[in-house]
């Protein structure tokens, strides 16, 4: 008979694992991916596959051959980074930018900090921002390729709503149908096409208890509040709260990038502070910055404050006086 196992307690474990959590996030991204593939066609599919595949390959290679300390590759996490990176790019991006983005995301932003769980900055956002400042032309070429459905819109060279605001002022989007934009908003990054699809995925994450709602909620509320105040003061110069909520990458960033475990605070209240700061920076960049969109920069900036936030917010311990 085999020798029996002996170990300290506990003797059982919950079913969830790091991989299963990552799979849950990938599943949650599925609606957004499906919409963008349907709308943008083969090029979207290729970018997603390329991003995920190359990130997995990089993660595996680096953990296997290049780490000083033995590390465990978490392939679903790498695939998730690749998918998020691809979703953060316009569908007409040339394929090689994705590869460069993946190298920056996995190689620089993640592995050089020590791999899984050690990185300070969100890898996918780091990759995107690197591309944005290095290849601004490729990253802001909003040509819409022919999709599987919605063929009537092919080869429309347009700009995103936010760059339109930057160029032509807040008045140019005053008559926009916010609800339609929320449902479907071609142009811009692939993942931004449908706020509804993203929110469906996020509700799935909430139901599976993968993430908590505090970070996205505080981001949305802050964005609404800040833009509301500015809009009330001067509706001519500043866009309104509803527009700012649905436009650009806010929903994608708030629900899927800002909630990344590794680069967000661990406590609920820390998450709220993180979200408020993030929302504020987003609005400052949108209103006063030279870039039309600021979600990526805001996330990177707030990533830096996470260690400080974690130091400031601790849980209420049992037996140290009731709050």
């Amino acid at each position: 008979m085999e020798n029996k196992l002996v170990s300290p307690n506990p003797h059982v474990h919950a079913k969830s694992s790091t991989s299963s959590l990552m799979w849950d996030v990938i599943i949650a991204l599925a609606p957004a991916m499906v919409v963008s593939i349907l709308w943008y066609g083969w090029s979207a599919l290729m970018l997603l596959a390329l991003g995920a595949g190359f990130c997995v390959l990089l993660e595996w290679t680096i953990t296997k051959w290049m780490m000083r300390k033995p590390s465990v590759a978490c392939l679903p996490a790498a695939a998730l980074t690749g998918l998020l990176l691809a979703l953060n790019m316009p569908p007409s991006t040339p394929w090689w930018t994705v590869l460069i983005g993946a190298i920056v995301a996995i190689g620089v932003a993640k592995m050089s900090f020590g791999g899984m769980g050690q990185n300070v900055f969100n890898p996918a956002i780091t990759g995107r921002v690197f591309l944005l400042v290095s290849f601004p032309q490729q990253l802001t070429n909003w040509e819409i390729p022919r999709g599987f459905i919605g063929g009537g819109l092919d080869a429309v060279s347009g700009s995103t709503l936010l760059s339109q605001v930057k160029l032509e002022g807040a008045g140019s989007v005053a008559d926009l149908d916010i609800f339609r934009t929320f449902l479907l908003n071609p142009g811009g990054s692939m993942g931004e096409i449908s706020g509804l699809a993203l929110l469906i995925g996020f509700v799935y994450l909430l139901c599976r208890k993968v993430v908590k709602p505090w970070i996205p909620l505080s981001i949305f509320l802050t964005v609404a509040l800040v833009s509301g105040i500015f809009h009330l003061c001067n509706p001519e110069a500043y866009t309104g709260p509803l527009f700012n909520l649905v436009a650009g990458g806010l929903i994608l960033g708030a629900c899927f990038m800002a909630t990344d475990y590794v680069t967000s605070p661990m406590s609920d209240w820390g998450g709220v502070v993180f979200g408020v700061g993030l929302g504020f920076i987003v609005m400052m960049i949108r209103y006063f910055g030279s870039y039309p969109e600021g979600v990526s920069f805001a996330i990177l900036l707030m990533n830096m404050t996470v260690p400080l936030i974690d130091r400031a917010f601790h849980r209420k311990k049992y037996g140290y006086g009731r709050a």
Binding site: K4, L5, P8, H11, H13, Y261, M266
Partner: protein
């Protein structure tokens, strides 16, 4: 749906109470028993018999060796064969008394009739003495001598005694069964402890996954009609049966770090302890039996049992009686899957606090490869003490003693919630237990230096 539960942390594992329908059976007596002298928290008892002595069921064979210690009685009648070291379930040497069984003759004065004695004695000192002489210890897991807990220092006052029927550990059903089969005795035992503590309020707390037990206990309380006693339904959540969590769940009070429950006016005793108190006080019967569950995650219900066993019976004998160790068992645990102890030595014997023999399959128990922390904060969210296990783990690995104390490693109750919920399979409890030990030693040293 009950709203009573503890507010901080907690987890919801599958409760897996497969054996809850198995009525309690009496386990046969093996030819030889080995009675451990370290069956309780505190100093091990000193054996007071020698090889060749004749003993009856209930004869004192071990005497307490300090204030926090307990009497140990012979669970069988026969001849003492030897007194000496023997390996316990962890494989460490502990003094055992080996007794060869001859017949089943009980000491005089033990009431073996099934009649229920309802009159509660009023002499507090005599009752406490009886509880002490009968070797009653807390049967909820910690095996703390009951007479010490029921006799708090005069400057503290208990205003509530909680009878713990939460049985929050998955798989275990022995408390469930005694609540169904022997509710009146438990209620009388609870009333006795209530009297000893000066007639305070008495709450029998049961989780809502045991509706039969709740009904049965409510019936007994109504029938016996003791004053100031109620049955309270709790919302199921692990570790509700933890002393501190139960007090918070029922009374909304929190016991301070390093303090005893009595500091907030509460005393917690398990339902099995209440039964033992009843038997000791009303029947003059020492604590030589307890109820245990034989169960497992892949064991067919037909092979699961709830046994009334005598202490000192080897685990291997029990396993044999229950149909042998199943083929699938990769780990055998005594106690629940969250806080129980893995058995390294099946020849070890049952003790007063034994509550189960749990066969876990490899799939459910084998630890998976340790990954890297992804800062998901699940450990912190599940910690019922409001600690941050990831932080304690980190400072422990760095050897930072001050950091461990600041992170309150000493407050850990080792319930296992953090490790259970960690998606990266980090052995948090293993490390935090070490950190706790180091901090406790440091606090003790400081205290003795301060004096």
């Amino acid at each position: 749906m009950s709203k009573y539960t503890f507010p901080i942390g907690g987890i919801h594992p599958n409760d897996a109470k497969f054996s809850k329908g198995c009525a309690i059976e009496v386990l046969p007596i093996p030819p030889v028993v080995y009675v451990s002298m370290a069956q309780h928290l505190g100093a091990p008892a000193v054996p007071c018999v020698a090889a060749g002595d004749k003993v009856k069921v209930g004869t004192v064979i071990g005497e307490p060796a300090g204030f926090i210690s307990a009497y140990i009685h012979s669970p069988v009648s026969g001849t003492v064969k030897s007194v000496g070291p023997r390996k316990d379930l962890a494989g460490n040497n502990v003094t055992h008394v080996e007794i060869t069984v001859e017949g089943d003759e009980w000491e005089d004065g033990i009431d073996l009739t099934p009649d229920i004695v309802k009159e509660i004695p009023s002499d507090r000192a005599a009752v406490l003495d009886k509880i002490k002489k009968c070797g009653v210890v807390g049967l909820g897991g910690a095996t703390f001598p009951a007479h010490v807990k029921l006799n708090p220092s005069p400057d503290t006052k208990a205003d509530c005694i909680l009878i713990n029927g939460a049985e929050c550990e998955p798989y275990l059903t022995s408390d469930h069964r005694i609540m169904i089969e022997r509710p009146e005795e438990i209620v009388i035992g609870a009333a006795i402890m209530q009297m000893v503590l000066g007639g305070c309020r008495c709450v029998i707390a049961i989780e809502d996954n045991k509706p039969e037990a709740i009904a049965s206990m409510k019936g007994a309380v109504a029938k016996l009609g003791y004053r100031n006693m109620e049955v309270l339904t709790l919302k199921k959540k692990y570790p509700q049966g933890g002393e501190k969590q139960l007090i918070d769940a029922v009374l909304r009070r929190q016991v301070g770090s390093g303090a005893l429950p009595i500091s907030v006016g509460a005393v917690v005793q398990n339902v099995a302890t209440a039964l033992a108190v009843y038997e000791a006080v009303q029947k003059n019967r020492p604590l030589i039996t307890n109820t245990m569950t034989i169960t497992g995650d892949k064991l067919p219900v037909s092979e699961q049992h709830n046994y009334l066993f005598r202490i000192g019976v080897p685990f291997s004998f029990i396993a044999e009686q229950a149909g042998g160790v199943p083929e699938y068992a990769a780990k055998i645990v005594s106690g629940g899957p969250m806080m129980g102890k893995a058995i390294a030595n099946m020849d070890a014997t049952t003790v007063k606090g034994t509550s189960s023999l749990l066969y876990l399959s490899k799939e459910s128990t084998k630890r998976k490869e340790e990954g890297l922390c992804i800062r998901c904060a699940r450990c912190a969210e599940s910690c019922p003490m409001g600690l941050e296990p990831f932080l304690i783990n980190r400072v422990y690995k760095a050897g930072d003693l001050a950091g461990m104390e600041k992170a309150s490693a000493q407050d850990c109750i080792e319930c296992g919630c953090c490790q259970y919920s960690c998606p990266a399979n980090i052995p948090l409890v293993d490390n935090i237990r070490m950190a706790k030990g180091q901090v406790m030693a440091e606090i003790k040293k400081r205290r003795s230096n301060g004096k």
